[in-house]
Amino acid sequence: MKKLVALFLALVMTLSLASFAAAEEPFEITVMLPEFVVDVDFAAENNPILQYIEEKTGVKLNILWGPNSTYGDLINTTLADKNPPMIMAVTDARGPSIIDSARAGAFWDLTDYIADAESYPYLAAGTAGVYRNISVDGRIYGIFRSRAYPRAGIYYRCDIAKEVGFDKEVKTIADLTELAEKLAGYSKDTYALNMCSYTAGTINVITVAFGAPNNWGVDADGNVYPAHKSPAYLEGLNWLRHLYEIGGIDPNFAQISTSDWDNIERTGKAFMRFDCLDNAHRQQEWFENNAGTTEQIFQTVGPVAKEDGSVTVWPQNNGFAGEIMITKSVSEADLPKVLKFLDWCNSPEGQTTLNAGIEGVTWWVNEDGYRYVPEDKTDEASNNSKMYLHDLNQLGMGVPGNLENPPAIVNRGVTQLRERYNALNLELAPYAVSDPCFPFVSETAVAFGTQLNQIISDAAVQYIAGLIDEAGLQAAWEDWAAQGGDMMTEEYNAAYHAALAE
């Protein structure tokens, strides 16, 4: 027994010594981030980028990676943990469990802190509208990860388009149809439109282009209605159905995993995609780095005119993709330290480090003062990037906009596309359609949202694939209404009117 007591005392002493010593050490922050790079492990030890961050901010990062495909599940289970990581990158910021947890006080309320422009200049510089979009009951519980408002759109392989005799800019819906039909005829083994089991985005882009609302619309009487009630929604589906019939879409698209989506383009199996526009320059970059492409082979589509001459619209993003939240594992006294660090992440230096890494490891500076990777170092840089930088950009917020310094230079097509993307963002902005119900929470959506959305998207997929006709589509929509869709519409309607009244 005496021995046991002695052992216990010794243990207590070592522990207290250890904590005493820790006071001298850098402030450690645990962070949970989604992981996309799977072929190379993240170097947690001897990582020059982490060392650089520690040197600049006095913060030692301890990162927990969660595979992206099941990251949402991981967030939900982590929330049940007594000591969750101090910082969590939350990808589904409007998920019911996040909203419930925020209301219960699992995250720090940052509303007053981000208003403090003196202490946190970069966090305070964020657009108020986007902060409002991520707020819960008017309070802000996280720092948004900034994205351009009009982000979804259409891009295609312009080199293949030229080959099949389409050598002009897409200006009208008719042009788009012509382009798709020509691409469909390219070869027996290839397809025009790249589709996979995730269809909501593709359908959203094309139906909104035809004039349907973005998920939810407001009719002439000022009432909220779901997108599929709009006749334009059916027009959009018909467009896809026609393309499917002429062999422009892989007949098995519904069984293709989301993780293969990019690969279908990379292996030259399909030439057009309705998705995030910035993916165009990412694909271009991949071709330049891996296939020796030297010319611009991707093109993005700008504003398009409909048959009646009016300019078509695009689904509007909500200005963010997920948020960075601080859990109550951080004490109130330490909160400013953590916020200071997040503020640094948004500074030019922080943005460059999180998005691109550090000089001499993942990038070098050319004589014009641009960030680049020399020819002979591409392998090294790519390796370092996977091992040291990994997916640290998931912590990047870009709240005050892109401030990377020195700016990146990428030779050949990527820069052109990237510039076009930035220009398009401005050009498309007036035509972007927002989802009026986005900031609201519907109880039915919380309980049945997943299933209800599935009814709509499954029916759309079956319609495109010719498995059901218009009557079948109608039946599915009625089913949706009966299963809780009507209830959800009512709840959103009430919330919408309540917000208007305010």
Binding site: N76, P96, D100, A106, N252, Q255, A447, Q462, A465, A482
Partner: protein
């Protein structure tokens, strides 16, 4: 039941005397009771204590507030589930899969066990048994991948049917084929492993009975019918009762792996719904409520089928 209770009274006496006797028993067989202890602790810690978590089915459980701090909502989640007709789909899908499982999968290990029992060469039998156990150890993820490679649009079976029938059958993307694929995979994976319990029961059959029957001129089928099957009848009934208890369990991993937008009509079962609500949506309370309802039905089914077994003159589960 009452006769049993009376028997116990006679054996152990009542009240105080019962406890005195029990103490004496424990003292006498203390080493045996000691051996029992780890098992009892296991059940208390891992099976009984977590039962208190059921309470979240009646709360609006938010992990941060904890089980004690979350808001009490009574039967809200139960009402929610029945509010919309979707639950009918989940229930029918679950029941159809379960019945198909009982009709097509359940007899498979019995038949296989009987076939193995008739083998003459003992060495060959042992080798075959080992080989038959292998699929059980293959992860369901792998099984589904193999299925995709074979039955998918570029697979050999898909192409084969296209050649024979002139048109392809979309095995992986239709609600009609979905259930058959699931049952097929289950049969392939678990039949061999399922034979173990029946083979064990078969070893208890007195070989003299066979010899006597042979002398009387009974053929193989007769021996099978009059000796082998009656010998394993109680095992079959026992397994069937246990199967009844998991009538509403379809598992979710297998179904989620096989599901896609084209066959979702058939793949939405209660277990899949619980997974979607609990893990994907983070609605722990709602998921627990559905899980609790499922368990109540399962217990009822076990008790009823056990009763029926008793009526049929079998020993049953207890």
């Amino acid at each position: 039941m009452t006769t049993k209770a009376a028997e116990r009274k006679k054996l152990h006496g009542t009240g105080l005397r019962y406890w005195v006797k029990l103490r004496a028993d424990i003292k006498r067989d203390r080493w045996l009771y000691l051996l029992l202890l780890p098992g009892v602790i296991y059940f208390i810690v891992f099976k009984y204590l977590p039962l208190f978590g059921i309470v979240i089915a009646f709360e609006n459980y938010v992990p941060y507030s904890g089980v004690l701090g979350s808001q009490w909502v009574g039967l809200k989640w139960f009402q929610y589930f029945f509010k919309f007709p979707a639950w009918v789909t989940y229930l029918t899908n679950t029941l159809i899969l379960s019945f198909m499982n009982i009709i097509f999968y359940f007899p498979a290990p019995i038949i296989l066990a009987l076939m193995l029992n008739e083998m003459r060469s003992l060495r060959y039998k042992k080798l075959l048994q080992t080989l038959l156990y292998v699929p059980h150890f293959i992860s369901i993820v792998i099984v589904v991948s193999i299925t995709f490679v074979m039955f998918g649009p570029s697979g050999i079976v898909y192409k084969g049917t296209e050649m024979i029938l002139g048109h392809p059958i979309n095995y992986m993307g239709s609600p009609d084929t979905f259930r058959w694929m699931i049952i097929g995979q289950t049969i392939w994976k678990e039949t061999g492993w399922g034979t173990i319990i029946f083979l064990a029961a078969l070893t208890n059959v007195d070989t003299q009975l066979y010899e006597a029957a042979m002398v009387d001129g009974a053929g193989r089928l007769r021996r099978l019918w009059h000796i082998t099957l009656p010998a394993i009848r109680s095992t079959i009934v026992l397994m069937l009762i246990l199967r009844m208890g998991s009538m509403l369990d379809t598992g979710y991993d297998h179904l989620i792996l096989m599901a896609n937008p084209l066959n979702r009509k058939a793949s939405q079962t209660l277990d899949v719904f619980v997974y979607q609500q609990g893990i994907q949506q983070g609605q722990f309370s709602y998921a627990s409520a559905i899980g609790l309802m499922k368990s109540i039905v399962s217990v009822t089914l076990v008790v009823t089928s056990n009763k029926i077994a008793h009526l049929m003159g079998e020993q049953g589960l207890y």
